[in-house]
């Protein structure tokens, strides 16, 4: 721990270059947020098939199309974030398999191709049996597609805040949170009250677990690592990042948890829908602040 010696040494940088600005900004936040919804919807569709296949009827096509749209938003922002987007094909022709970026790009491409195939099968051929079989495989594929961003964050050795397996768990929870929220909104009258409450429970539990992990890192993270302590300093106290951090925690997790509890008591779909909207909106803020703060720290 060197920062304790700062007062004694009074060490001050007197001549240096400025710190680089944030490299991975809101494009990458959009990437993570849209991917969570895209894969999360697939997870929820699979759960619905297992729990109550009768309610799949009106949701096979619409849910998959919404997932497909969000996966394409994710791919679009991934591409837009590249400084040389026209060289994206290098990932497929010069793949470097130790990189989570490469693995993720391949997995996500296969995922979207499979989604396209399923849309064709259900939309044009109305073949629900094949669709349901493929749903199992795409759900399996959705797991690495959800997780690979955590792999990238883990490989970002310079950013101590992003640890494995914490980030992997947070990615899965982001998918179950946003996926359940999205299917509640998409389901509308096609889902029974019981099924809606089931997805509400998934949303609430995902919010609770994610919130517990963030709070654990917020409170205990600084005790083990000097760099984490310095990074978390940005979200402690006042300041814009602290405000953004708490807005995210309230909107994504705390309020949806309270609203879901209220919806269970009052059996209100409107309150459940509000919880779902807040969770989806809040997730963007939560992901953004966690992406930004490690980049504020000088590395050299």
């Amino acid at each position: 721990m060197v920062h304790e010696t700062l007062a004694a040494t009074n060490a001050v940088v007197t001549l240096d270059v400025a710190i680089p600005d944030i490299f991975w900004g809101w494009y990458v936040t959009m990437n993570m947020w849209a991917k969570s919804i895209g894969t999360g919807l697939v997870f929820m569709l699979f759960l619905l098939l297992r729990k109550n296949p009768d309610e799949m009827k009106g949701l096979r096509t619409s849910t998959l199309i919404v997932s497909f749209i969000f996966m394409n938003i994710f791919l679009l922002f991934t591409l837009a974030d590249l400084h040389q987007p026209f060289r994206m094909w290098h990932i497929f022709f010069y793949p470097h398999w130790t990189s989570a970026i490469t693995v993720g790009a391949w997995m996500a491409s296969i995922f979207v191709a499979l989604e396209s195939l399923m849309i064709v099968i259900i939309f044009f051929k109305k073949d629900t049996a094949t669709y349901d079989k493929l749903l199992f495989w795409i759900t399996l594929l959705a797991i690495p597609v959800t997780l690979y961003t955590a792999g990238i964050m883990a490989e970002a050795t310079a950013r101590e805040l992003w640890q494995m397996p914490t980030e992997a768990v947070q990615m899965i929870l982001a998918a179950t949170l946003s996926g359940s929220a999205a299917i509640i909104l998409l389901g509308g009258s096609k889902l029974s009250d019981e099924t809606k409450q089931f997805f509400g429970a998934i949303l609430g539990l995902s919010a609770l677990m994610a919130f517990i992990i963030y709070m654990s890192e917020y409170i205990f993270g600084a005790m083990k690592s000097e760099e984490v302590a310095a990074i978390l300093h940005y979200v402690k106290g006042d300041g814009e990042y602290a405000t953004m951090f708490w807005v995210g925690q309230w909107v994504a997790y705390i309020l949806p948890m309270l609203l879901i509890a209220l919806a269970r008591v009052s059996k209100s779909s409107a309150i459940l829908n509000l919880a779902a909207i807040l969770a989806i909106a809040g997730l963007w803020v939560v992901k953004h602040i966690w992406l930004i703060i490690p980049q504020l720290l000088p590395l050299s």
């Binding site: 010696t5 040494t9 240096d16 837009a80 974030d81 040389q84 290098h90 793949p95 990189s99 050299s300």
Partner: protein
């Protein structure tokens, strides 16, 4: 062969000759740096001291930038240099995020990642890196770490206070410092106040990118 760098901070006088030589040799664009010398002042007046630390790519044995690069644009040369193929780079900035030493930047002209290559092109022609040649006090010692008779190996053998930056990251840097303190090696050991940097009105360097 395993090429490495050692900077004897007892000798460095902060002239920035290495910095300029690097800029010129490698045509490094404005607002980006492959090598820079950081000044940190220590103590309280009148008991003050100014320290100088040249900072460049560490050419790690276990380089996080090489591992995260999705297209092998960052790769090892046989002599241990971590080199970059700018034609292959897709500009994902994964390497920028992975390097614990902040040694990689996005070149605003080519929109690709770039960094110190130990002047790999000069070494291929049996020349020393530009910064080594420019140093007036021979504070930069460059050579083969696998050769026990090389200058750098003998320097490491003869000095007990040989250190690397952030050893806890497990990157095994091939860039060493003699005579360094925490203030030189750890960016968290010094305060960084606005108004005391080279660019008084600039607190954040531009990304050199499109957003």
């Amino acid at each position: 062969m395993q090429l490495g760098f050692l900077v004897d901070l007892h000798l460095c006088m902060g002239c920035k000759g290495c910095e300029i030589a690097c800029k010129v040799e490698n045509e490094v664009p404005l607002s980006t740096w492959r090598l820079r010398v950081k000044y940190v002042d220590v103590g309280t007046y009148p008991e003050t001291k100014r320290t100088f630390t040249p900072l460049r790519c560490n050419h790690c044995e276990n380089a996080p930038c090489e591992r995260i690069c999705p297209v092998s644009a960052l790769h090892y040369l046989e002599n241990g240099i971590v080199n970059i193929d700018k034609e292959r780079c897709i500009g994902c900035a994964g390497c920028v995020m992975a390097c614990p030493y902040g040694a990689i930047y996005i070149d605003p002209e080519t929109q690709t990642a770039d960094k110190c290559t130990y002047c790999a092109h000069r070494i291929a022609s049996s020349m020393m890196p530009a910064c080594v040649v420019a140093c007036p006090v021979e504070a930069n010692i460059f050579g083969d770490l696998d050769d026990p008779t090389s200058n750098i190996s003998r320097y490491i053998q003869d000095n007990r206070d040989v250190q690397v930056r952030k050893p806890e990251k497990g990157t095994n840097p091939h860039h060493y410092y003699v005579g360094a303190s925490q203030v030189n090696l750890n960016p968290l050991a010094s305060k960084r106040e606005k108004g005391y940097s080279l660019f008084n009105n600039i607190t954040k360097l531009p990304l050199g990118g499109h957003h």
